[in-house]
Subunit: 300 residues, 2 copies
């Protein structure tokens, strides 16, 4: 049987890279999965678990003759990886990634290559788990999850199709949009909520007067602050990588909150009720939409 | 068999009042449950479902000879109820309530009675459901949920003990604290998170540029914004009733967010990482605490 993809090289074998490898191998869609990383123990584990076929600690060796190179390192390191593989790969190798922010990597590509290369297809699988590392990798991690690809005018149709097919192979639901739209949408639906949750928990936990408050917190607080248990390093990377969009949204949110604060302060019940009612209506529509799609949602 | 409580009168037969009645009757702890309300259909339904023993549309008749009067109306209406029952009840009747804010009711009591009466024991069961009304009432709604009582120096020991025993009868875990502590703690763990969730969803839904964003929202956003589906009228009442504590906390949170916003804007990775790490540590401790107690948490 002909494999749909030849050699796929994963740079950084963690939860996402490992799950992609497992999904492609489970579908028998790839001839060979090669991994590269700094920590040999992760690579050895991946090999023992059958997640990958072989690994190399030498980047040039790992990407040699690869059909697809997937940069699956943390967000900020992805820029460095792009720079390091630039002189090592040929024009027929497709480069893609899995980072949560796309603008910083596109700007890095412009800096490194002069312009965004036609064989670079940035992508973002919106999936994750509370666990991390290759041992947590699951072949079905992306099933019914959204993957956003962000091609440019210069992206080759063949490279785009190849990356889209690779993700469809994992069971993901692939959408396409511009880099700017991606970063704006993710800033609103993911990056801003994380910043607000981190800020709230830190504000409350840091005040000695509130030391005891968590004892009295109920279910609403538990759900609202769950994302403040996310990996601080990953979210540090995301905040820096999507800095401009995120700061703009924090400002927009802060202005909105300031208006609501003033209304509460002056006991303007009409303003408060209108705001809360609009929000409930929008959130209920979102719930209906979720029920309408068979999505297996989980934290990014 | 001797009933522990004689006649209990519920003013406002909704989810909370109805569930309290059901819990007391399930334990055979009450001789008679009487209900009063504006909407006779709710009262008729409560009678048909066996939640109450009888009802009256006449307030004086409903509270006559009651051992305990439970004000279970919406938060702001509770102040009016206190005023209306003041001339109708004798010194041996214990008055209590179930509202989410205690300070506004204590101030109302001082205004109405000259000082907080010794037979008034304000209380707050931290429990609820996405459903409302007497048809949603459940005898086990309060099992393992926290009920906070807020006695003053003038509260009679007998009245306090009676209200505490009534809630223990429902399976609740009863704590005691001052009115100010209650309102500060609830502002932090419940009222502020609700305001932030309402503000975020309204800010995003109101911006035409973001009309489509909910399509791309994942599990983190769903959990973070769930409380924005809460009843706008109830939360309007709470925001007004706990205005001072809430505005103070919004200011404290906004200052915290402004610092984080500046750090992101100037790419201060160290500040960002420290803040996120502190928040994650505090949130993880909260998770451990939740696992440590067999609480059946649900939204307030």
């Amino acid at each position: 049987m002909e494999h749909e993809f030849g050699r796929v090289t994963i740079l950084g074998l963690g939860l996402i890279g490992g799950s992609l490898a497992k999904a492609l191998k489970a579908k028998n869609a790839v001839r060979e999965v090669v991994a590269w990383g700094h920590r040999e123990t992760s690579l050895q584990t991946g090999l023992q678990l059958g997640v990958i076929d072989r690994y190399s600690l030498d980047l040039a060796d790992a990407v040699h003759d690869a059909d697809i190179v997937v940069i699956a390192t943390p967000t900020l390191i992805a820029e460095t990886m792009l720079e390091q593989i630039a002189p090592l790969i040929g024009p027929n190798t497709i480069i893609t990634d899995v980072a949560s922010v796309k603008g910083n990597l596109q700007r890095a590509a412009e800096r490194i290559f002069g312009q965004v290369p036609s064989n670079l297809v940035l992508a973002h699988p919106i999936a994750g788990s509370e666990q991390s590392g290759v041992t947590a990798a699951k072949a079905d991690l992306f099933v019914n999850h959204r993957v956003i690809v962000t091609p440019t005018d210069r992206t080759s149709a063949q490279a785009l199709e190849c990356v889209e097919r690779m993700w469809q192979c994992t069971g993901a639901d692939v959408s396409s949009m511009s880099v700017d739209d991606h970063d704006d949408i993710l800033a609103a639906t993911s990056h801003l909520p994380h910043v607000l949750a981190f800020a709230l928990v830190d504000a409350l936990a840091g005040d000695p007067a509130h030391r005891d408050i968590f004892r009295y917190a109920a279910g609403g607080f538990r759900d609202f602050t769950r994302i403040a248990s996310s990996d601080p390093t990953m979210w540090h990377d995301i905040a820096l990588a999507n800095r401009v969009a995120l700061v703009g949204l924090i400002d927009q949110f802060s202005a909105h909150l300031a208006n609501l604060r003033s209304a509460i302060d002056r006991s303007d019940g009409e303003f408060i009720l209108k705001t809360f009612s609009r929000a409930k209506e929008a959130r209920d529509q979102f719930s209906d939409m979720l029920r309408g799609r068979a999505a297996n949602l989980s934290e990014e």
